[in-house]
Amino acid sequence: MSKGRWPYLYILPMVAAILFAFGYPLVSVLRNSLYTGSIYELTYVGLGNFRALFGDDVFRTALGNNLKLLLTVPVMTVVALLLAVLIHEGVRGGRFYRAAIFFPYILPAVGTGLAFSVFLSLNGGLNGGLRALHLNGLALDWLGSPDLAIWSVSGMVVWQQLGFGVVVFLAALLSLPAETVEAARLDGASWWQLQTRVSLPQIRPTIEFFVVTEAITVLSWVFTYVYVLTGGGPGNASMVLEFYIWKEGFAQGAVGLANAAAVVVLALAAVLIAAYLVLRRRSLSSEGRS
């Protein structure tokens, strides 16, 4: 069965799909980033778009904000690890906690984002609660202040993505052999030592995957949060790369800038994709050995 030409026939639809959705568009976006004009009338400008891009304050803000969003990754990782370890060690209602914390992850960010935009407005639910607890000093203008807006967005990102971390870490912890932990405990290791020296090193590959996956997410998959929560404001303070591409390319018809910005996103993502591939290869080869 393994002989013959049948595999070529079988991969044909897959190759066609990939060429259509990835191959042609990637080539096209790289080429068009050197042109300006409308979609139908392109003029060659060399690196002109990139010069204009990095001269544009709004783009630099967007890039900076995506980098700020990267800070959510360590926060999510640490908190998710903590929660996963707690659930793993066996608390009453552990299954319920896992399901509840995970629940936001699967929900459409448009729907939950609308709830957040109402919830976080100056006289919305969050501040209403804080004021009821006499914490008036904490009742800030979460979406209306340029210093806070992007952090409010990142708060929602953490809210939605945290449960993903908890679930994958928990699954990894559950797959660990119980003996090693037991042996370490008999050797008199403290709880902290148990975690940092025994459990966590063993689920390290999972942690690495989570970090890389989330890094790509906050870099290139946060359009919905910004679109629904702040619209990039106030005064472009919460602009991110995707929103910039959408605004320039589709709302204002500055196709050259949008293509160049897309190339920047691609370059940033390429670094992370390479990291992801290295991790994947390592995990595949370790699977092969075992």
Binding site: P7, Y8, A17, I18, F22, V29, L83, F103, E242
Partner: protein, 272 residues
């Protein structure tokens, strides 16, 4: 000491749970307020409960039409991408041809390519195919985008099928098509289920592509329509949140039915 820490653990997990659910509770409570009630009292619980917003969400807005569109788009793209991926993954797993490792690596890399990078060129393709503003435009794009993850996931499952089983089929004289259909697929049904669930939720929730490709009122997906209602009904937040609640209900129900598959799909995507 250990007792105290046990309490501390419960408190910590409780806090995390409250944080996860509070915005959702707030959303549902707000959707049960009248607009007048909300204006006077945006933060507190409703003065009296009304379901009028839900009635309006279903009658004054094309919410049902949008839901139907989303359902159609999700079904078609998930089905099409799964069929394409099954064939590809099968060939990669059991076929002997040059470059199959490369092909697998390519698929794994493409899982992570940000769709926003592909948006403008695919938009131009759809314009040229005269598909802009029609559901097939997003169906085609989604199908392509879903293929790499499905190929990667299915390949790792196909490879776990014991060689004996395949060999036995060969001895019986089954060709590759027959083997796939009557041996491999029945054995890997849970994996197919998982791919379907993960991808279906992704498509249902997607906004950016749908927003750009579908502009007509009746062509929108639920997420596209919902996001635009935010501006159009800015002074009627309870109504907007009623639509938002309606948009998450199908996902919540679907998730409840397929929780196991879903969790399995995610954990596989991340490594083990």
């Amino acid at each position: 000491m250990s007792r105290l820490s046990l309490t501390a653990r419960q408190v910590l997990l409780c806090l995390a749970t409250v944080a996860a659910l509070a915005p959702l509770v707030f959303m549902v409570l707000t959707s049960l307020k009248t607009s007048a009630d909300y204006t006077v009292n945006p933060a507190g619980p409703p003065a009296s409960i009304t379901f009028d917003n839900y009635r309006r969400a279903l009658t004054d807005l094309p919410t049902l039409r949008w839901m139907l569109n989303s359902l159609l788009v999700t079904t078609v793209s998930v089905a099409a991408s799964t069929v394409v991926a099954v064939l590809g993954a099968y060939a990669i797993s059991f076929g002997r041809f040059r470059g199959r490792q490369l092909l697998l690596g390519l698929n794994i890399g493409l899982i992570m390519v940000p769709p926003v990078v592909l948006l403008l060129p695919v938009f131009v393709i759809m314009v040229n195919l005269r598909l802009i503003n029609t559901l097939p435009s997003v169906m085609l794009f989604y199908t392509g985008l879903l293929v790499p993850f499905a190929v990667f996931f299915l390949t790792s499952f196909f490879r776990s099928v014991p060689y004996d089983v395949i060999h036995a089929a060969q001895v019986d004289g089954a060709g590759p098509g027959r083997t796939l259909w009557s041996v491999i697929l029945p054995l890997t049904r849970p994996a197919l289920m998982t791919v379907g669930v993960v991808n279906a939720i992704w498509v249902w929730n997607e906004l950016l592509i749908s927003l750009v490709f579908l502009q007509g009122e009746n062509q929108r997906t639920l997420m596209g329509g919902l996001s635009l209602s935010q501006g159009r009904y800015a002074t009627d937040q309870p109504l907007v949140l009623a639509v938002a609640t309606l948009s998450i209900l199908p996902v919540a129900a679907f998730y409840a039915l397929s929780q196991r598959s879903f969790v399995r799909g995610l954990t596989a995507g991340i490594g083990k």
